[in-house]
Structure formats: structure tokens, C-alpha cells
Subunit: 456 residues, 2 copies
Amino acid sequence: MSDHKETPRQLSLGAFLMGAGHHIAAWRDPAGAPQAALNFRNFVRAAQKAEAARFDLVFLADSASIREVESPSLELEERAVRFEPLTLLSALAAVTERIGLVGTASTTYNEPFNIARRFASLDRLSGGRAGWNLVTSSNPSDPGNFGQDALPDHAERYRRAHEFHEVVRGLWDSWDEGALLYDKAAGVLFDPQKLHPLNHAGEFYRVRGPLNVPPSPQGHPVVVQAGASDDGRETAARTAEAVFSAHQSFEEAAEFYGDVKERLSRYGRSRGSLKILPGVSPVVGRTEEEARQKFRSLQDRIDPVVGLALLRPIAGGVDLSAYPLDGPLPELPPTNAGKSRQKLLIDLARRKGLSIRELYLEIAGARGHWQLVGTPAQIADELEYFFRNEAADGFNIMPPQLDWGLDDFIELVVPELRRRGLFRSEYAGRTLRDHLGLARPVSRRASVRPVPTPAE
Amino acid sequence: MSDHKETPRQLSLGAFLMGAGHHIAAWRDPAGAPQAALNFRNFVRAAQKAEAARFDLVFLADSASIREVESPSLELEERAVRFEPLTLLSALAAVTERIGLVGTASTTYNEPFNIARRFASLDRLSGGRAGWNLVTSSNPSDPGNFGQDALPDHAERYRRAHEFHEVVRGLWDSWDEGALLYDKAAGVLFDPQKLHPLNHAGEFYRVRGPLNVPPSPQGHPVVVQAGASDDGRETAARTAEAVFSAHQSFEEAAEFYGDVKERLSRYGRSRGSLKILPGVSPVVGRTEEEARQKFRSLQDRIDPVVGLALLRPIAGGVDLSAYPLDGPLPELPPTNAGKSRQKLLIDLARRKGLSIRELYLEIAGARGHWQLVGTPAQIADELEYFFRNEAADGFNIMPPQLDWGLDDFIELVVPELRRRGLFRSEYAGRTLRDHLGLARPVSRRASVRPVPTPAE
């Protein structure tokens, strides 16, 4: 990976699309589209609006199971159903021209050859706009769909993720520049000297290669990470070109930003070679009161059963419904699922002295991400402060509600960011790498240097 | 699976899109698009043309590896590279409205939960237009990309395919009719009584379910099969709703048609519940001489190295380049890869007394499928004869060249089929099942009968 070209620093914006919106009760908004999570046209509209506003990318999360099938809250949990992200992004590729398309795929329950191939296909057919959000599965209901009784432990999942990434990157480097000739007269399609098997043999995977999809105009898909634990940070520094992070405060965001950027040097990477985009869920009003009113209209629609279900992943098996809703969070044991996220939320509750109800109301909006409620100027002030003070290179915008929530941000906050010279009015390039200011990757095969390893 | 509704019998047409066309030298046609196999717009044009002509479906084959990486013919083999089929079909779903979208996915190197989910997602976002061509991997270069040294043997691949299909069908039946409520006022999304885990535990797979994608307007994707061996025929009769078959003669096609339709009764299925669509590669001219001239222009562009490479999969390890090109095919040992296909081609050479060169020229066009070269009336005569005499319910059209090859069929043969009352002028329905005349499947869960098993 090489340094990126220096351009006037602009912030990057992602549109993180989820169902009827990120607020857990968004689907109950009378103004929202019915069955939003399963309505393709709804996603087309949102992606085209984000493109018209010159966002860098749309982003889709994933889950390979319905959580809590036997729970009383299931019928209240809109996120139980969704389109498989790469299927949806491929369809969106055909009806957009410029915006990046970043999808989540797990390294725990996929074959690296299949993932390398699918993202390379999306990258190629979209003209170089694909990104892969590399995750390890942390949802305890996933393994049952893949022949396993339980998740591999945290450390093993990350070892697997590292090796998986090595294989995928290696497969993406199967084709040197200029390998495709397509010389009709001579009857020569490829230069076989420029096509390389991988012959990977590691702890978890043996993959011969080469990949049967050649590179796109951006070289290969952008690699994105979302983990916040120590393993997650190290994986990001080693493998990622963008990170979608989750923070509740400037201090947390700045600590994360500084730490991950610092870790890059261990892998011979520059600070500009990885972009950090915290998630933020903005509820925008022309006045503070209007914004608060919009937020309240969503909060008021949260059923306590859903609120408690939201807390279940962090509760380590403790049944919180046995405790008073308006009392404090009890002591909780650590879990194997998403250590870092659990810690963030429990810290939040302790720090703010929140009751169980207040904690679920606190996270219901942005699910542990950063919730902003205010005027365009107030929201732009916050984003600008993070951006100018080493806490963010941009933001993954999580519309609390997919229709008015995204529209409000685009119509009210984006113009304010432009007035401040922080965000583009036009795309400068055609690929996701162009938008993010990332250099076209150097093939590891073509590199004179050996593959970088930790300096420690 | 229940009987289909009786409508005036019309033939079904698929557009089997492959790279620059099905003829092995199509990519060398000076009139063709450059890099056709990797040019998304090329596929959009072809799919939209097929839709405008009211074809039932577009179909994409697959291969999970580059064959013959170390062979001197690789650089001549256009099919070495391709988009992953479901990625491409998902993109095509967004720029078409009615045409069915059938893609190949192997049961050998995928997880059934992932395949069930991806096809259900495509089915849902396309409004009920998806089909899954269920195959077992028979390419000896595939296993190396998935941690294996060799393919599982033929019988094991088919046992795995049967169980894989059971799991996928079971997951597609996770949701009963009316399970989705989306009652905003009451805050009730699903009826939990109508959502069912699968709890499958078999020889190869353990899958809990339920699937996190609800059914589409056609219930679930159409299941397609392409195998021609005895195992393949039985799998088709047990699992498929459409079969893409490969034949060289009416006798072969009629034998296959009769045999597979007969086998349906063992599973309690009607003859109309499975549609048989032989592959056919038509080269159409306004005169016979024009058609022959078009075909010759493609045949003349086949390099002998490519021709020999085409025969390699059937040669059972024998190096045919050691034999005279214009001499007979030597004795060949049986291979594990695609038994039935090998037998078909060797029979063909023996029957017609073909030299090695003549055999590769014979199969280069349609690769063992049925090659027609003639006028619109001659081609329509052949198709009509098969259709009216229990050898075909329709055809999977394999354009020898993607631009003029598909155009010629649509502009010259389709009107002739319409004049004969054999092919629709307008779609009668919106889903792939509607086009094929297949009934919406009855959920196995909802069925009063137990899952049918062979009567033998």
C-alpha cells in the first residue's frame, strides 16, 4: 500500500442504509415506506439521493441469521430480515454511476475464493466502486446456520480473518497490469506470464488461485473494517483502507483515531492510507426544538420489549427484564460476542448513571454509535470539530429514518458543510478510491518489498 | 410441488449468455464488443434485447476456477474469466422488469444457507424472477480453490447435492404466507407462529434456520438442473422445475425427455411440473448459404491449440496433441469429471467417424449442445419438431456470437415462431414461474402430505 496523493483535505461521507432507518422504531414512523427493509425501490431512491449529494459511498451491514428466534421481541425487530448485502449492492451498481458500494461479508462463514470473486465482480461491473467490509461473525445465532454449535473464540476468529484477508488480497493480485490482451487478430487473450496462481497454504485455508476475475479500474475493492477491540484495531491497521468506527464522545473517537493511525507505522503504512469514518446518526431540525421533537417522535415508538432485546447482546446471559426498568444496570459478566462493543455500552451506562430504560433509549437511535440531535449548524460544528482535531476523516451517516432522515441531512447539513469548505460539490474521480483519496494499491506480487509484517 | 395451470402450450425461450458468444472463437469476431465477457454494458444490452423479445429468462453458467492454468491454450480461452453469475444477475435485475434471471451455483463449494439467502434476495428484489441452476462441481481445477486436492466422487457429489437442495428448499419455506404483518400502530412486524426454524441435521449439513429473507411473489426461486447422467436425471426428477439439457439429435433429446418426465411420477409429480429446455446454438441466415458463411467465419478462427484444449476434459488424461489432428480419436479411459458429457461426445465422434479436428470443430460452436445452421424457417422447423414431438418444452438459446448471433435469432426466428403460434408476443405474468407455466410452489411445511420419496 502506498501513500495517497495530497489534495485539499475534504471529509468523506458514507450513507449507511439499514431497513427503515437506524432508529429501532423507524419502521413504525407513519411517514415511512412500508416494508422498507425488503423494498428494493426504497434502496434505489436512497442510493441515488446519496449519489446526487456526492457522498463517497453507500454501506450495508450484514447478519447471517435471525437473532433471538424464540424471543418475544422478534416480531418487533425489523432488522431480522434483510437483503443479502452483495446482492443488493450489485443491483444498486446498475442504477448508480459514481457512488461507492461497500458491503459486509464475514470471514467466519464464507470461502475466501468466493468472497474475492464476488467483490472483484462487483468492482469490475461497477467500474471500480466496490468496498469489502471485512468482519468476523460475532452473532451467537450465526453458527447454527453453518453446522457449528458455537462461534469460534475471539482470537481464532481474528486469526482466521487475517489469513482470509491475505488470501483475498493475494487472489486480487492474480493479474498483473497489462495481462489482458484481447488481441483478436493474433488470437491471444492473456499474457500467461502476467497471470499468477496463489498457492496459499495456511492454518485455515489452502487456495491455489488464480482468481477468474481481473482487476477493476481501482485495482481492487477497498478493504473496510469495523472492529473496535484491540484485535479489531490491529486488524484494521494491518488490512484496512477505511474503518467504520463507533464512538459516543470526542475523547473516545480521538483516542481510537490516534491509536489506529499510530499502529499503521508497524506495517510500513502512512497515516493517509487508512480513513477513519465514525458512525453518526443525525436528527436535524431547522430549530433545536424541531430536532428534539423529531427525535422524540421516534423514541416514543420504542416498545420496552424491543428496548430490552437491544440490550441482550451486552447482558452476558443476564435477563434484564428481571430488573426494574428504571433502576440501574446490574453487574454483567463478559461475553464472547463483540467484547469491545459491550464494554463501550456498559461504560456509557456507568458514566451517565443511566437506568436500564435510559440505556436502551440512549442506544436505540444509533445502537451505540454517536447520536446527534440539533440544527444544521450545531451538527456541522460537531462534525467539523471531529474532522479538524484528529478524530475523524469523515463520517458514516446513519439516517435515523431512511426517508426524511436522509433528506434532512442532505438538504440541511450538506450545504452547511460545503459553505465551510469541508465537502465536495462534485466528484473528482470515478472510483471509490478516488472519492476516499486512497491510492490505487500496488500489487503485492509486483512490489519489490516483501509483504510488510509487524515491526514488534 | 403441484400441477401447473393448463394454458395453450407455448414454448419457453432462455437466452444463455456467455462472454462474446458460445462459439469458442466468437471473441475474435471483428464485429464483436471488445472484452465482451467483462463488459457489463454488453450484458445489459443482451438481457434487455431478450426481454424486449419476451424471452422467459436469461441464464448464466459458472466455473469456480480458471481451467488449465498451465496450459498453452489458456491465453486463447475466453471463458477463463467471467463475472460471478449472481453478482451479474443482481445488477441485471435492476435494469430489467420482467425477464427471468437464472444463475448457476455449485452445491460442492458453497454453504446452503448462503445460497438460499442470495437467491431469495435476488428473487425478492427482482419481484419473483430468480432461478437457481443447481450443479455439482465437475471441473477438476475447482477443488484447489477450496482447500481440497480432488473433487469428491460423482456419487458423493450427488448425495451432497440432494441434501443441499433439501436444506435450501427448507429454508425457503421458513416463512408461511401472511407471516409479515408490519403493523406500525401495534408495533408487530411478524407473526412468530408463521416463522419456522429448519433444524436440519444430515450427512453433510446441519442448518438451524430460519432464513432471514422472506418469500418473493413467486414463492421461491425456480430450481433448475443441467446434469444428464443417471444421477443427474434422477436429481432433476426429484428437485428441478426446469432442466437445461444437451443433445445432438432428436433421438437423444426425445429419449432424455421421455425418461426424465417418466421419473417424475416416482416423486408424485406431474409431467408439467418440470420443463425441459435443450440448449441450441442457432446460426441464422436469410439463405442457407448466408448461414453457412456466418458459421464458417467463426469456425475459421479456431486455433488448433484451443480446439485440442476443448477436447481435454473428455480425453481422460490422454494427450490428444500426440495424435494426428486429422486422424481418428484414440481409445479413451473414463474420467470422474462429467461422465455423461464425455460419453455423449465420444459417441458423437464414433457415430460420425470424426477426426480429432472434426470433433473439435463439431463441438466448438455449441460445446456438445445442438448446433443449427440455416434459414429462419429451417431453424423454426427443427424447434417446432422437437416441441411437438416430446423432445422439448422450449429451448435455451445459446447465441454463437452475442451481438449479431442474438439479434439474428430475435429478428429472424422469433417472428417465425410467433407466426406458427408457438411463442408469446407479450408476457402473461410478472414472475419467472408465470413465464414457464409453473405453479407457485406449495410450502413443504404447509403440505399435508409428507415429503415425497422414491416409490421404488
